[in-house]
């Protein structure tokens, strides 16, 4: 690299102003305001749609600018490191978001439900409030919220579709690693094939999740409203599915970029950022498979 003569660049890089952040703020506001109007049955829920379109435009435009600047060679090593660190900390914040829902699952399952069932000093719950409640997991609570007409529901066994989905996501983790090695070795064809395989597996996963959801909603009586089990199940797997979808879209974008000849063996932060993100949704899935489906 031409800048190799100094550990940090001897002149700092500062990007010029950009209108994308304010477009992002306005679009977020429109999305939120539209959602508020929708939830409150006000007129104006439609604001959500231009907001979402504007948000997509913002992502497209902002990344377009950054990609252009990067490819024109405007960025130095320090900028690259800032992007990397920023992405890592963003993923950490996502981990903490999932941690809130995992925390809710653990708390409900190992504390709240036994207490409702009268464990320990909470014995009066059993004696006075809900004498007939069996606090076994999975549960939709003493009032049998949601589920079939009679309040029962079935769950999705771990070693069916979820196990297959685990295999799919783990395989996609392998394919993206092969793609990464191919990129570093300059094997462009291998890169394109394995990157495509990764997002195909990703969308396959999302499709199977949708299948599973439909089955749960129609036949198992397992819905978002099916007590605490349905709540934790759908919020955890739902947010995960959303993240897989976002990750798969990101994979498509970098695949399109590889088709256009972007990325060099030692300058491909966007690829690595997406790969980290993909491993993150992979790891979250392992947590889901173990704690939500299996044990």
């Amino acid at each position: 690299m031409a800048t190799a003569h100094a550990p940090a660049a001897d002149k700092y890089y500062v990007p010029h102003g950009s209108h994308w952040p304010i477009v992002g703020s306005v679009s977020l506001f429109l999305v939120m305001a539209g959602a508020v109007a929708f939830l409150n049955d006000w007129a104006g829920g439609w604001a959500f749609i231009p907001g979402a379109l504007l948000l997509a435009t913002m992502f497209f435009g902002w990344f377009h600018d950054v990609i252009g600047e990067s490819r024109s060679g405007a960025y130095n090593h320090q900028v690259d490191r800032s992007f990397r660190m920023g992405m890592m900390w963003f993923i950490f914040s996502e981990v903490m978001f999932f941690a809130a829902f995992f925390g809710a699952l653990f708390y409900a399952r190992s504390l709240a439900v036994p207490w409702i069932g009268g464990e320990g000093v909470k014995v009066f719950n059993k004696l006075l409030l809900w004498p007939n409640y069996d606090p076994a997991w999975p549960t939709n609570g003493p009032a049998r919220i949601g589920g079939h007409e009679d309040g029962t529901f079935q769950i999705i066994p771990a070693f069916g579709l979820p196990a297959l989905n685990t295999a799919i996501l783990l395989t996609s983790g392998v394919t993206i690693t092969i793609a990464h090695h191919a990129l570093q070795a300059g094997k462009r064809t291998q890169l394109k094939i394995f990157l495509a395989a990764t997002f195909v597996l990703g969308f396959l996963f999302v499709g199977l999740q949708a299948e599973e959801y439909a089955h749960a909603y129609k036949e198992l009586g397992l819905r978002l409203s099916t007590g605490i089990y349905g709540s934790t199940f759908f919020m955890l797997t739902g947010f995960h599915g959303l993240h897989v979808t976002i990750g798969a879209i990101m994979l498509v974008i970098i695949w399109l970029r590889t088709l256009k000849g972007h990325f060099t063996p030692n300058n491909h932060f966007a690829f690595e950022g997406v790969a980290w993100y993909w491993h993150f949704v992979d790891v979250v899935w392992l947590g889901l498979f173990i704690f939500v489906y299996w044990i």
């Binding site: 002149k11 992002g24 306005v26 939120m32 949601g146 919020m235």
Partner: protein, 535 residues
């Protein structure tokens, strides 16, 4: 890659300031964004302050005078949300923006466009939040902590509050990521971690806390939203959930949040006291480790906010003892500040006055916090005015005084002019006296049994409430001096030298006053760093 020539070419375009509204709306400049944050925080401070004065006007005498109870409750909830998310936190981010790049020898924040996004989310978030005042059912009235099931009974304001919090959280997370990356990646060569000024250190740890807990708050309010609109049972026992679970998740965010608001204040005080004592900071490294220890402990003490809600005895003991443990690193800090002043040649310029008031009054808040940590005692204090007095002592003469002190300390650097120090001292004395008139009697009220968040009270509480309200109006109106002093300084202050205070250390004082648009275009030399980083 032949990047170098190109980089220079790109640079030459930006060394002049953009003009007009584009300068602010499209800004990628840490100083401009810092200024916007500070102006926003100041505006919200007066909005939240007006709400506080409505509360204190109603409580001036027993009986219902001015507002109906529902609106009173809205005022307590909104005052807290506006002050926490609108005034204190943005003020700290504004100060971080202004100071961190200058103090570590960087040209700007690491991710300047993200920085712009972090700021510009905020006005929209507050349009949503303050908009709740005008919707059917009124503003949120269930307290800023949003405990279910009460919070779920709000009117149309409910989703507005939730989404406003999502937006504020997004803003804080992006801002915090920016601070972490800036500190870890943009330090000038030779500016080791243990040479960084304490304001940078405390903000670094604050940023870690923010990235870790703001998403948890987002998760908690998302669960509230789905419980309200989409039939989930997270906080409903009938479905196997637990309303207390919300409190656990909320306070897992909420306690680190408390330190998010106070750790940068420790940093500011650690900068001001050495300057006006004309001595290096006593125990620099122990200050760093104490800050880190407080940051760590903040994650394992949350349940002291909810002792009376019911939890296993082992839980109560753990959270009581862990909470008391915090007084050890905090004590290290207090004693280090005292040791810094010992045998120093002290002078009492406005920043020093605010730092000293911080030292005394924050310590009072710390001690009442220790009292609240004791489980059996807390059973008496819970939800009383004693709690109100406690956290206002750490937030007002704590965080707020540190923010004001920071403004008076660095204002000459920012605008290149000295402010009216006499008037600032008047501002200080009015603030310091009235803040005690305002909050000290609330300890007595709480111990006597007056509950918080009520618009009316038994007549035995009348006297101290009246005193407290007088203090509130005195304090509130004396704060108008702050913007006046700043505007006067910007318009007609006498020019300030680069080192505005004769013994101030730190890289920011090596820059001219006012600091150039891009702080350090090239990294400062080793000699400059050595001079600046003398602790």
């Amino acid at each position: 890659m032949a990047t170098h020539a190109h980089t220079d070419a790109v640079h030459d375009d930006h060394d002049h300031k953009p003009h007009g509204w584009r300068r602010w709306v499209f800004s990628t400049n840490h100083k401009d964004i810092g200024t916007m944050y500070l102006v926003f925080a100041c505006t919200m401070f007066f909005v939240g302050g007006t709400m506080a004065l409505i509360i204190r006007a109603e409580l001036f005498e027993p009986g219902l005078q001015f507002v109906d109870p529902q609106f009173f409750n809205s005022m307590t909830a909104m005052h807290a949300l506006v002050m926490i998310f609108g005034a204190i936190m943005p003020a700290w981010v504004g100060l971080a923006n202004w100071l961190i790049p200058m103090q570590i020898g960087a040209p700007d924040m690491a991710l300047p466009r993200l920085n712009n996004l972090s700021f510009w989310i905020l006005p929209f978030a507050f349009m949503l939040l303050l908009g709740t005042l005008f919707v059917p059912g009124g503003a949120p009235a269930g307290g800023w902590t949003m405990y279910p099931p009460l919070a779920l009974q709000a009117g149309d304001s409910f989703p507005m509050m939730i989404f406003a919090i999502h937006l504020m959280g997004a803003s804080s997370i992006l801002g915090a990521i920016n601070v972490v990356v800036t500190v870890m990646n943009m330090r000038a060569p030779g500016m080791n971690l243990l040479k960084m000024p304490l304001f940078v250190w405390t903000w670094l740890i604050t940023a870690y806390l923010l990235v870790a807990v703001m998403p948890v708050l987002a998760g908690a309010v998302t669960m509230l939203l789905t419980d309200h609109y989409f039939g989930t049972s997270f906080f409903a026992a009938s479905g196997g959930g637990d309303p207390v679970m919300f409190q656990h998740i909320f306070w897992f965010f909420g306690h680190p949040e408390v330190y998010i608001m106070i750790l940068p204040a420790f940093g500011v005080v650690s900068e001001i006291i050495p300057t006006f004592s004309r001595k290096p900071l006593f125990g620099y490294e122990s200050m760093v480790y104490a800050t880190a220890a407080i940051g760590f402990l903040s994650f394992i003490v949350w349940a002291h906010h909810m002792f009376t809600v019911g939890m296993p005895l082992a839980g109560q003991l753990f959270f009581m003892l862990a909470t008391m443990l915090i007084s050890v690193p905090t004590g290290v800090k207090i004693f280090n500040w005292c040791a810094t002043m010992t045998r120093g040649s002290l002078t009492f310029e406005p920043p020093m006055l605010f730092a000293l008031a911080f030292l005394f009054l924050f310590t009072i808040g710390g001690f009442s916090g220790l009292m609240l940590a004791i489980v059996p005692a807390d059973f008496q204090y819970q939800d009383s005015y004693f709690v109100v007095a406690h956290f206002h002592y750490v937030l007002v003469p704590g965080s707020l005084f540190a923010i004001v002190g920071a403004v008076y300390y660095w204002l000459p650097k920012w605008v290149g002019r000295m402010y009216d120090q006499k008037l600032a001292k008047v501002h200080f004395w009015l603030s310091a006296i009235f803040v005690n008139v305002l909050f000290f009697p609330q300890h007595f009220l709480g111990l006597a049994g007056m509950p918080r968040r009520i618009p009316d009270y038994a007549t035995q509480f009348a006297d101290w409430n009246m005193v407290s309200s007088i203090g509130a109006f005195g304090f509130g109106f004396s704060q108008l001096l702050l913007p006046y002093i700043i505007i006067k300084c910007v318009k007609s202050g006498a020019p300030a030298p680069a080192r505005a205070w004769d013994s101030a250390h730190g890289l920011e004082w090596e820059l001219p006053s006012p600091a150039p648009f891009h702080s350090w275009e090239t990294p400062p030399s080793a000699a400059v760093i050595a001079r600046g980083a003398e602790h």
